[in-house]
């Protein structure tokens, strides 16, 4: 018995010493950022990085302004310096200038930055200046954990140019304490004759948002409103419009292009599906908070995250902000797929199909690449691998302002959010299920990734903002956008746009 006890104690002690927890403690003492998990073994773990020696070498990074993505970049740079002896210089740039700040030197044949942060839809314009991700990283267990969607978003026709550090998609966020409240449900039913539930169509979304607009429905003494949306011109608003369009215009029975008809390269942007979405959006100006038509992403996060609106839809940030410890609505929000529609446009038969349709929008998000002309490519890839290692990634996910969102299959485990972030299990489950279902969908829409992508998206922003401001009707606005798109295709070259667009269509049609 005594021998058994001794053996058992020895085994437990060994486990304690060699278990990830104890192994992690060594690093989490030095790096409090990972105190929740400690180091997690992997190819780019703290342990592995500490064995690298980059003394005397300098790594230059251009990233976004603090905090979103800029703060984790700087933090991991500091950690990387301590572990490897490298010198890391981080430059922070506003989002609107990330493209040009890299593109100008790229085009001039220079590489002032070894690592450039940007958005995943830059890939077509940037890929000729970026080094493909080397095989050893592609084969790492961390990379194998990246979801298929985000492998696709980071790659161009099978070659990965952007190192996955973030996952983005648009989904619906709602006030669970209102929608699930039996009293509110009774009141809504009595006043409208309809059920109060998580909206599954944009029409339901509009009806509920309108009903809950302009009165104090949470009893905090302040007026609340229906919806917070990104409507400010050029401030990512085109992505919000596409989120509203997918339900009406992404028909799983008509493969071959959501934005264009791939065969003819005729824009679909002014077809009745998109026009219906824009009509809904113009209607939405009536149920956003005062000034809501000038809301950028930051305003949207602050508005929904601060408890000002019933609904919101866009990137994860507003949801994470709402679930942070200092939020007045922590554990009072829910996540659900983007609403769908009871009809969808069939661009082949030129008619509406009266059946329910829902399509996830795997929107573009943060992306990062290593300059082809960098002289420290190995160190640059090591830094990126370290940035997204298991411990850093889990710690980053918990901090809303970092802008790091799930992109690994292991991120869809609700226990991460329950245990380390204190989320209500039901909310954590609905959040991970929403994200996971998007990955499984066969009707996904990916961002437009063609040469001169900014010309296309800028045209959408201008056209839709004219409709929101009442300068043009939705049809007139989108006709103007379609005309501009045709002009851009002609300027860039039909073949060049078509070839690039075909890669995105393959992903949407589940052929890649």
């Amino acid at each position: 018995m005594k021998i058994m006890k001794t053996c058992l104690t020895a085994i437990i002690s060994s486990l304690m010493i060699f278990s990830p927890m104890a192994y992690a403690d060594k690093w989490s003492d030095q790096f409090p950022h990972i105190k929740a998990t400690g180091d997690i073994p992997g190819d780019c773990s703290y342990e592995k990085m500490s064995k690298k020696n980059y003394k005397g070498k300098t790594l230059k990074i251009n990233t976004h302004a603090i905090p979103v993505m800029g703060e984790p970049t700087a933090l991991h740079a500091e950690q990387f310096e301590k572990l490897t002896g490298a010198k890391v210089e981080v430059t922070h740039t506003p989002a609107g200038d990330l493209y040009s700040k890299a593109m100008v030197p790229f085009q001039a044949g220079q590489a002032p930055y070894d690592i450039v942060f940007g958005f995943s839809n830059f890939i077509n314009d940037w890929k000729r200046y970026l080094a493909p991700v080397p095989k050893k990283y592609m084969n790492s267990p961390e990379m194998k954990d990246v979801t298929k969607s985000h492998m696709g978003v980071s790659s161009w026709d099978g070659t990965m140019y952007q190192y996955p550090v973030d996952g983005d998609r648009h989904y619906l966020k709602y006030r669970k304490d209102v929608i699930d409240n039996p009293e509110m449900q009774k009141k809504y039913k009595a006043d409208t004759g309809k059920e109060l539930k998580v909206p599954t169509t944009w029409k339901e979304y509009g009806e509920m948002a309108k009903y809950f607009n302009g009165w104090d429905w949470d009893g905090d003494g302040e007026k609340e409103y229906g919806s917070a949306e990104v409507m400010k011109k050029d401030d990512l608003m085109f992505a919000a419009f596409f989120s509203r369009s997918v339900a009406y215009a992404k028909n799983p029975r008509t493969p071959g292009g959501f934005f264009f008809d791939l065969e003819t390269m005729k824009p679909n942007i002014n077809n009745p599906g998109f026009v219906e979405a824009l009509t809904d959006w113009v209607e939405a100006t009536k149920y956003v908070p005062p000034g809501g038509t000038n809301f950028g992403l930051g305003d949207e996060i602050g508005s929904f995250g601060g408890g000002q609106t019933l609904f919101s839809f866009s990137w994860d940030d507003a949801f994470i902000a709402a679930m942070q410890d200092d939020s007045p609505i922590k554990n009072k929000v829910g996540a659900a797929p983007l609403p769908g529609a009871n009809k969808v446009w069939n661009r082949v038969s030129n008619s509406w199909e009266n059946q329910y349709n829902q399509a996830p929008y795997i929107v573009w998000g943060w992306a990062v690449g290593v300059a082809k002309k960098s002289k420290v490519k190995d160190m640059a890839f090591d830094y990126l691998c370290f940035f997204s290692n298991g411990a850093n990634h889990q710690a980053d996910l918990a901090i809303g302002r970092f802008g790091v969102n799930p992109f690994k299959n292991s991120d869809f485990d609700p226990n991460i959010y329950i245990n380390s972030m204190g989320w209500d299990p039901e909310i954590a489950n609905s959040y991970t299920k929403t994200l996971l279902d998007m990955e499984k969908s066969n009707n996904r829409v990916f961002p437009l990734r063609v040469p001169g992508v900014f010309e296309f998206t800028s045209a959408v922003a201008t056209g839709t903002s004219k409709a929101l401001a009442g300068q043009l009707s939705p049809q007139e606005a989108l006709d103007e956008v379609a005309k501009e798109w045709e002009a851009i295709v002609s300027r860039v070259g039909k073949k060049a746009v078509q070839d690039a667009y075909a890669v995105g269509v393959k992903m949407e049609d589940n052929k890649l």
Partner: protein, 287 residues
């Protein structure tokens, strides 16, 4: 010493002039004749294609130009009137004169982008203090989301930021005026209003023309205020030429086309400001 050696002393200045003025203009002209963009970088030659597109197929540029004309003329007139009034006030012997002189210059000393962010917060329609205060009177203007009001919001911010510059120039002008005409007017028993109309204002005409032209040149480059406050919206209602050129050049990366717009804009501004200066000289100096 050879007299021609004096030309060597001109070279440093000449190099600077070529480097910072002549070369950029020549480069912009060359760039405007190319199709440089994100997918086709380089100085290829496409002739006048960009200019033809600008003059025949881009109403947005011309709309933004007329909008800019309205915004810059309105802001400069307001700055001139307010600046003159303030300068006139502290020109007199009043209490705390030095304090006011410094106080009126404070807006100009602040960073325009940061101040515009603060103004945007003030004018935020649901969270800002302006509408919060106005709600006492039951009004809540749509400062940033109404196409007409948004233009006036831009004007308010511009006037606040740059009136001190006008104030400074006009105060310098007032302080340099000769005393004799005022003494003569006082002996003749002229009222303060008549003194202003018949003595101060005419004497200030040359400096007024200079101040107005300098401010018009600056105001015609309105960019940061629009960028931060409205991003040119709602719709395109506050989009100015410089903001539009910025979008085409640095957002959409149509460098060649943006260069053609910049050069056209430069020519238009040179012509229109020359005409304005002539007209002002004729009207104010009665030449």
């Amino acid at each position: 010493m050879n007299f021609k050696h004096k030309y060597f002393f001109l070279f440093p200045g000449l190099f600077v002039l070529i480097g910072i003025l002549i070369f950029p203009i020549i480069f912009v002209v060359r760039l405007s004749l190319s199709g440089w963009n994100s997918y086709n970088p380089g100085l290829d030659y496409i002739g006048l294609e960009n200019y033809i597109r600008l003059f025949t197929d881009d109403p947005r540029f011309w709309e933004s130009f007329f909008r800019l004309s309205f915004l810059s003329v309105t802001t400069v007139i307001l700055q001139y009137v307010i600046g003159f009034a303030l300068a006139h006030m502290v020109w007199k012997d009043i209490k705390f004169k030095r304090f006011f002189r410094v106080l009126f210059l404070v807006p100009m000393m602040t960073t325009p982008v940061i101040m515009t962010v603060i103004w945007r917060t003030f004018f935020h329609e649901s969270l800002g203090p302006v509408n919060d205060m106005l709600s006492i009177f039951g009004v809540a203007p749509k400062w940033l989301t109404d196409p007409v009001i948004a233009k006036f919001t831009v004007i308010i911010v511009e006037v606040w930021q740059w009136t001190p510059f006008m104030f400074l120039l006009l105060l310098a002008g007032l302080l340099s005026l000769p005393k004799e005409p005022f003494l003569a007017a006082a002996i003749d028993g002229a009222s303060p209003v008549r003194k202003f109309i018949y003595v101060t204002f005419p004497l200030m005409a040359p400096i007024s023309i200079g101040a107005i032209i300098i401010r018009l040149i600056e105001a015609s480059k309105i960019m940061d205020t629009v960028y931060v406050l409205t991003s040119g919206g709602p719709g395109t209602s506050t989009e100015t030429s410089s903001f539009y050129i910025f979008i085409k050049g640095l957002r959409e990366f149509q460098m060649g086309y943006a260069a053609s717009m910049s050069f056209t804009y430069l020519i238009i501004m040179i012509i229109s400001l020359t005409i304005i200066a002539k007209v002002l000289t004729k009207v104010l100096l009665k030449e």
